[in-house]
């Protein structure tokens, strides 16, 4: 998709788990080591690749990497302690972006709109942000209270975003493992309202949200796809979609 839009992504030579849960205790540095390690890898490739921008597609990876950049790397004492431990030097040279940042700030919504080959024909789409894209506010890709970047992307693709009140609600996150009912209740609340507002499909960019919102979905629930999957369809790249996803997307676009 990005290739079509003129952006080349280069995979890090080595990359690790982002750490998933950033330590919230002020003095717990160990949970941030793996994030710094990823940033270090990007720093090592910076000159060769010619960019200081590290793009994450997963909301959680984005959140953690950016949070660590904001809270740890900017704190001289903390980053020097981690650097001493790693026996390497991360100098804070890498800027963490989410894919949505790239679409908005580097591709541009106008160009995105121009590149559309199969417009979504005013398909009613509910955009779901969840937590990791917008909280805490220092890492938010957009206004943390009322983000609109996903809606703008959907509009550029020819869809019609629906307004509903739960787009930044938590999806239930890891409760899906030990408190399945909690995650199921969140899913019903979020998707139920979106459907009531006329949405035919829900889009997200987070794998965990996607999982929770699709887990044990009933027949009457609206389908959930990644925003990128909808974008691929609109950009004439439907053949890169997995068969199941392609069927879902073609189904909802056809139905409108």
């Amino acid at each position: 998709m990005l290739k079509k839009l003129g952006v080349e992504l280069v995979e890090l030579e080595k990359w690790y788990c982002c750490g998933v849960m950033p330590g919230l205790a002020d003095d717990a540095l160990m949970p941030h080591v793996s994030s710094v390690r990823n940033l270090l890898q990007a720093q090592k490739m910076k000159d060769e690749v010619g960019t200081n921008k590290l793009v994450a597609i997963c909301s959680m990876c984005y959140n953690v990497l950016k949070l660590v950049s904001a809270r740890i790397v900017s704190d001289e004492e903390k980053i020097s302690r981690i650097n001493n431990f790693l026996e390497e030097e991360y100098r804070g040279e890498i800027e963490v972006l989410h894919l949505l940042d790239v679409l908005r700030d580097y591709v541009g919504l106008d160009k995105l709109k121009e590149s559309v080959e199969s417009p979504l024909n005013k398909l009613k789409v509910a955009c779901y942000y969840g937590c990791a894209l917008v909280r805490p506010k220092e890492v938010a890709v957009d206004d943390p209270e009322d983000p609109s970047i996903m809606e703008e992307v959907v509009r550029a693709l020819g869809g019609e975003p629906v307004d509903y009140p739960y787009k930044t609600e938590c999806c239930g996150a890891f409760h899906v493992i030990d408190e399945e009912a909690v995650a199921a209740a969140k899913k019903d609340q979020i998707k139920g309202y979106a459907k009531k507002m006329g949405a035919k499909v829900m889009v997200t960019v987070c794998p965990l949200c996607h999982f929770n919102l699709s887990f044990k979905a009933r027949e009457e629930e609206i389908p959930v796809v990644y925003l990128t999957e909808l974008a691929c369809y609109a950009l004439g790249l439907k053949d890169v979609l997995e068969d199941g996803v392609k069927k879902v997307v073609e189904g909802v676009v056809g139905k409108r």
């Binding site: 080595k14 990359w15 690790y16 788990c17 750490g19 160990m30 949970p31 080591v33 793996s34 390690r37 431990f85 790693l86």
Partner: protein, 228 residues
């Protein structure tokens, strides 16, 4: 031994000082000072992983790891052998497992506790990128994990140092078994040869060897083909 002064180094075994000849391996030095090693010694050739030894050099903060049979003594070495590392060793039926990282995670869920501290890699006497191999499993890349961990001799040093209490060498063994059984291409020539063995193609030759006299056997051994 010549009359000349033997060059010696001082080592400290569990805190007690000994003078031993320079150039000995840790294993030989321990035997030189009188230890009779029953556990914690195996092949003496750097392959079995039994003689894991941790040491520090005087005035250096770094904790180092070496195989006693491969590491030579140095002056000011404080050491102790670790003859055994306790580790959970799950039983599984390879036939029933898919070559999928989810399978490895279900058997060794603790690998998801890896915080990428890299302490395992620093502890590895085989210079394996241990952390990268664990992370490869987490990323779903069993091929990479199998390749990275190929030189593992299961000495257990990584697992004793791991703050996440991962037992890397058992994880890697499973990964390499899955790789070998389910991912790697079948070796056609091996299948062919096994068939030949089963069909008895080499029985007569083997019979001849078994019944051969010792002298004749020695002569044959000396004349064998050796790769250059």
């Amino acid at each position: 031994m010549s009359e000349k002064q033997l060059k010696t180094v001082r080592i400290y075994v569990m805190g007690k000082e000994y003078k031993v000849p320079a150039g000995l391996t840790i294993l030989k030095a321990l035997e030189y000072v009188g230890y009779r090693l029953v556990r914690g010694v195996g092949c003496r050739s750097g392959f079995c992983g039994a003689c894991t030894t941790v040491y520090r050099m005087k005035d250096d903060y770094k904790l180092r790891v070496g195989l006693a049979c491969q590491t030579t003594v140095e002056d000011g070495m404080y050491l102790v052998m670790i003859p055994f590392s306790p580790a959970k060793k799950p039983v599984y039926d390879l036939e029933k497992l898919d070559a999928d990282s989810a399978v490895v995670l279900s058997i060794f869920p603790e690998i998801s506790r890896c915080v990428s501290c890299n302490t395992c890699t620093k502890a590895c006497p085989q210079e394996i990128e241990v952390m990268d191999a664990i992370q490869a499993v987490l990323r779903g890349d069993l091929v990479k994990a199998a390749q990275l961990s190929f030189d593992c001799i299961a000495c257990g040093a990584c697992s004793l140092r791991c703050p996440a209490e991962i037992v890397h060498y058992h994880v890697f063994q499973l990964v390499r078994r899955l790789y070998g059984k389910k991912i790697a291409k079948r070796a056609k020539h091996l299948e062919q040869r096994l068939k030949e063995v089963e069909e008895g193609k080499f029985d007569a030759e083997m019979e001849k060897l078994v019944n051969m006299g010792v002298d004749e056997l020695k002569k044959l051994y000396a004349q064998r083909e050796i790769e250059p």
